[in-house]
């Protein structure tokens, strides 16, 4: 792996500073000069992020697919956009447990339970500050390297995930604003959209806010297209069953963790607009039986 020099690290920090400060053209200009002067892959990753922001998803995907195999600790959205058969998993080697967290599918609760299994304290929502502790795992490794492990994942119907993200993360926790210094807009895009605004502009939210993309990427991008590679896959109503399996596998008594669930939406699930049906088509085909 190529290590970045101090100058490259400082340059990358400056680029991000401009981007987060909503000085996109300055950020892009600085990045273009970095790409001319440095071969370090972190600048290609920033370029992929910027192309996504510009709405040029195909170009962003092309860059990521070229570099993802050698990139350090790629994020969920990068793996998904690159289209590689790799997910991110919490690996407990001591207990031979492998958990693939899918956002808005009970992952906060399970990751906290895994903390208990490791003999540590639960961390509530702060558990996601440790996302870098989840590691990239090739799906085919479940059949060889991890064939003896209990590999598991929780899945959920796409409209319920979307509504949970909007209601719990955007509205109740004000996350888009909090992540941007409390600003009401980020590059002109509201950080406090209504449900209708969010749904209608989901494609743009997924380009502007990486956190929105990570929370709304299809289940298939987190888990691949073959549920049979996992020891256990279940829907949200199977949560107690998963807790029982984790408890039995690890020999650890585990508590109820319902307090970590996102605030529940009060509205009925919406009809999925045609464009979103396309985004989540494979979720229904591959994981629909668990919803």
């Amino acid at each position: 792996m190529m290590r970045a020099t101090d100058a490259e690290k400082a340059l990358a920090a400056d680029i991000w500073g401009h981007f987060l400060g909503e000085r996109y053209d300055a950020a892009r200009t600085l990045l273009d000069s970095a790409l001319r002067e440095s071969k370090h892959p972190r600048f290609k990753r920033i370029e992929a992020r910027f192309l996504l922001f510009e709405g040029r998803e195909a170009q962003s995907a092309a860059i990521l697919s070229d570099i993802i195999e050698t990139a350090w600790n790629p994020g969920a959205w990068e793996l998904a956009l690159a289209g590689v058969p790799v997910g991110r998993a919490k690996v407990l080697d001591a207990h031979k447990i492998l958990f693939f967290p899918v956002r808005k599918c009970g992952c906060t609760s399970v990751l906290n339970l895994l903390k208990l299994i490791e003999g540590k304290s639960m961390r509530g929502e702060h558990i996601h500050q440790e996302d870098t502790n989840n590691q990239p795992v090739r799906f085919d490794a479940l059949k060889n390297t991890y064939s003896e492990y209990f590999s598991c994942a929780l899945v959920r119907e796409p409209a319920a995930r979307l509504m949970s993200y909007h209601h719990g993360n955007i509205v109740a926790r004000d996350q888009l604003a909090v992540h941007h210094d409390g600003r009401g807009e980020f590059y002109g895009v509201s950080t406090r959209p209504t449900w209708g605004e969010f749904l209608e502009n989901l494609a743009r939210y997924r380009q502007v806010f990486v956190t929105a993309r990570n929370h709304t990427d299809p289940v298939t991008s987190f888990l691949g297209n073959d549920p049979s590679i996992y020891s256990w896959v279940g829907g949200m109503n199977e949560f107690p069953s998963l807790v029982a399996r984790l408890s039995a596998t690890s020999g650890t008594e585990l508590p109820e963790v319902s307090e970590m669930r996102s605030p529940s939406p009060t509205k009925d699930l919406p009809d999925m607009p045609a464009e979103l049906e396309q985004l989540y088509k494979d979720d229904f085909t591959v994981y629909g039986r668990y919803f």
Partner: protein, 145 residues
């Protein structure tokens, strides 16, 4: 503000009007930019030479989305003559940076900085191309009838 990705342009990306496709359109068209892959699919109802209903699906970059948002604001009531006039002024702006629009089309000036980015010209003219295609198809249909 002269930057390409200024806040006003980016705000428009979440304000695209007429995003519901029409079921009983008189004409539909699809245009794709060969340069960047941006695509707009649109339907229209036309009465007495003017657009009375419009629906569009915009799968484009941020600049293409912004352009579709501005054009979409003025699309109801649009005639072929007005479209031809505004499209010509817009292409002139994209090529030279020169801006000369009637008041109701002034927002197009926001896209003037694209002049220095030839790779992005294809996507910002896409909303005009799809409308031009529609009027051309209607004309072809009426002359064939």
């Amino acid at each position: 503000m002269s930057e390409l990705y200024n806040t006003e342009i980016l705000r428009l990306t979440t304000q695209i009007p007429h995003t519901k496709r029409l079921e009983n359109a008189d004409v539909s068209a699809v245009k794709t930019s060969r340069i960047c892959g941006s695509r707009i699919t649109a339907d229209a109802c036309v009465r007495d030479g003017a657009i009375t209903g419009f629906g569009q699906e915009v799968k484009a970059c941020a600049l293409g989305q912004a352009s579709a948002a501005i054009v979409g604001e003025q699309v109801i009531g649009l005639t072929e003559a007005e479209l031809t006039d505004i499209a010509a002024r817009f292409r002139q702006m994209v090529k030279t940076g020169e801006t000369d629009f009637p008041e109701k089309w002034q927002k197009l000036v926001l896209l003037a900085p694209v002049k220095d980015h030839p790779g992005r010209h294809g996507s910002v003219v896409l909303p005009f191309e799809v409308l031009e295609q529609m009027f051309a198809d209607l004309k072809a249909d009426s002359s064939a009838a």
